[in-house]
């Protein structure tokens, strides 16, 4: 093939590609000029997200240890926020379960970790999200967590009396008791708040 033909081909090709990808672009949205800075509370979640993505790729002791450590840090940081605290506890329980069972963990577990993380991220980062919206999200995550727990129990047939004792569900998903306790506390707190609102409404009606 002669050089001239080659050059013409390359020239035609470059022109075609430039035309195809460059002309008549749809109007691009202008990026906001005053983009808000990343909230301080968002930064620790970035690290957690990165770790979760690493778990999704490969389950190793190192990455799970990092995951649990990061969660411990966040649990201390968000101690006063019941919803976030409970979501973090759910993540920790799931993380401990994966650490114990590794590749034999229920296949839905990683998906659940990612879903809980998504709810956590929304609770922490989304501006203007109301308390009731957060609580609704939490209750959905708890429901899904319990569904997974039931699936895990169902996939473990009862052991023979002579064999080694199979761990119960509390050991199967470590930390489950503390999560349930936190949810109960949350429920009781919500019930109290609802009671107070009702009482206030009753008094207003009397007036």
């Amino acid at each position: 093939m002669d050089k001239k033909a080659n050059d013409t081909f390359a020239f035609d090709l470059e022109n075609r590609l430039d035309d195809f990808f460059s002309d008549a672009l749809p109007p691009q949205e202008e990026p906001p000029t005053d983009a808000p800075a990343v909230p301080r509370t968002d930064l620790p979640l970035k690290e957690l997200k990165s770790t979760i993505l690493a778990i999704d790729w490969e389950i190793t002791d190192d990455v799970l240890d990092t995951f649990i450590d990061q969660l411990d840090g966040l649990l201390a940081q968000f101690e006063d926020d019941k919803v976030i605290h409970t979501l973090l506890k759910l993540l920790k329980s799931l993380g401990k379960y994966v650490r114990t069972h590794k590749s034999k963990a229920h296949p839905d577990t990683i998906k659940r970790i990612m879903a809980v993380y998504a709810a956590l991220e929304e609770s922490v980062s989304k501006d203007g999200i109301s308390r009731s919206e957060k609580e609704k999200m939490l209750l959905e995550e708890v429901r899904q967590f319990q569904r997974l727990k039931a699936l895990i129990v169902a996939s473990n047939p009862p052991h023979m009396a002579s064999g080694p004792q199979k761990p119960g569900i509390s050991e199967e998903i470590p930390g489950i008791d503390s999560v349930i306790k936190a949810i109960d506390e949350l429920k009781s707190m919500m019930a109290k708040e609802l009671g107070a609102i009702r009482e206030e409404l009753g008094q207003l009606r009397k007036k």
Partner: protein, 201 residues
């Protein structure tokens, strides 16, 4: 192998976006689609799992137009990056003409990039294709994460890890923001077309 019909003067080129899971392959295709959708008749097809991951592949076909009298039809594919979907990855690579390797710039994905590249070489070997002889473009994606304080690999390290022997063209990019996505795909198409030009001239 590109499909060339000398009677109808049509060339069909298949480019596959390959790389580790969650590296941004689908985001690349979505951005390309957003830029060209006004001028193509076809749609982008994505088959995803519940968790929004690519289960099978994404597929974006479009007609590039006439080059040297041939109507060039391009097909862009992505493959699932997760280790467990190797069978699908291998299948999508059948008949590939060019590769865009989308590497993840996050520090903790370094090994994953290397594994994904080795896996690509193995899968190409299955079709008797030597990775060194195939048109290939590297994209070091997610450079924007540095601004969020997430540690990323420097370009020299990524070049050394992935491209030291292949010496393919490479781009830093942010598929999420669209930075360098179009130059990457343009380079991949031109490199691939140049590789098949002898059959056209």
């Amino acid at each position: 192998m590109a499909f060339i019909n000398t009677k109808t003067k049509e060339v069909q080129v298949k480019l596959v976006f390959v790389g580790p899971g969650r590296g941004g392959k689908t985001t690349n295709l979505e951005y390309i689609f957003s830029r060209i959708r006004h001028r193509i008749e076809s749609d982008m097809v994505s088959i995803k799992t519940q968790g929004d991951r690519t289960l099978f592949f994404d597929f974006l076909p479009f007609e590039l137009g006439a080059i040297k009298g041939y109507n060039v039809k391009t097909q862009l594919y992505t493959v699932p990056g997760q280790v467990k979907y190797n069978a699908t990855r291998k299948l999508v690579l059948k008949g590939v003409d060019g590769i865009v390797f989308v590497a993840d710039s996050m520090v903790d994905r370094r090994e994953n990039n290397i594994s994904a590249l080795n896996n690509l070489a193995e899968n190409l070997n299955f079709y008797d294709i030597d990775i060194a002889g195939l048109p290939l473009v590297f994209q070091y994606n997610k450079r924007d994460l540095a601004t969020e304080g997430i540690p990323i690999l420097d370009v020299e390290t990524m070049e050394k890890d992935l491209n030291a022997q292949l010496k393919a063209p490479s781009f830093t990019a942010s598929a999420l923001k669209g930075d360098n996505v179009i130059p990457t795909v343009k380079k991949a198409i031109s490199t691939t077309m140049v590789a098949i030009r002898e059959k056209l001239l």
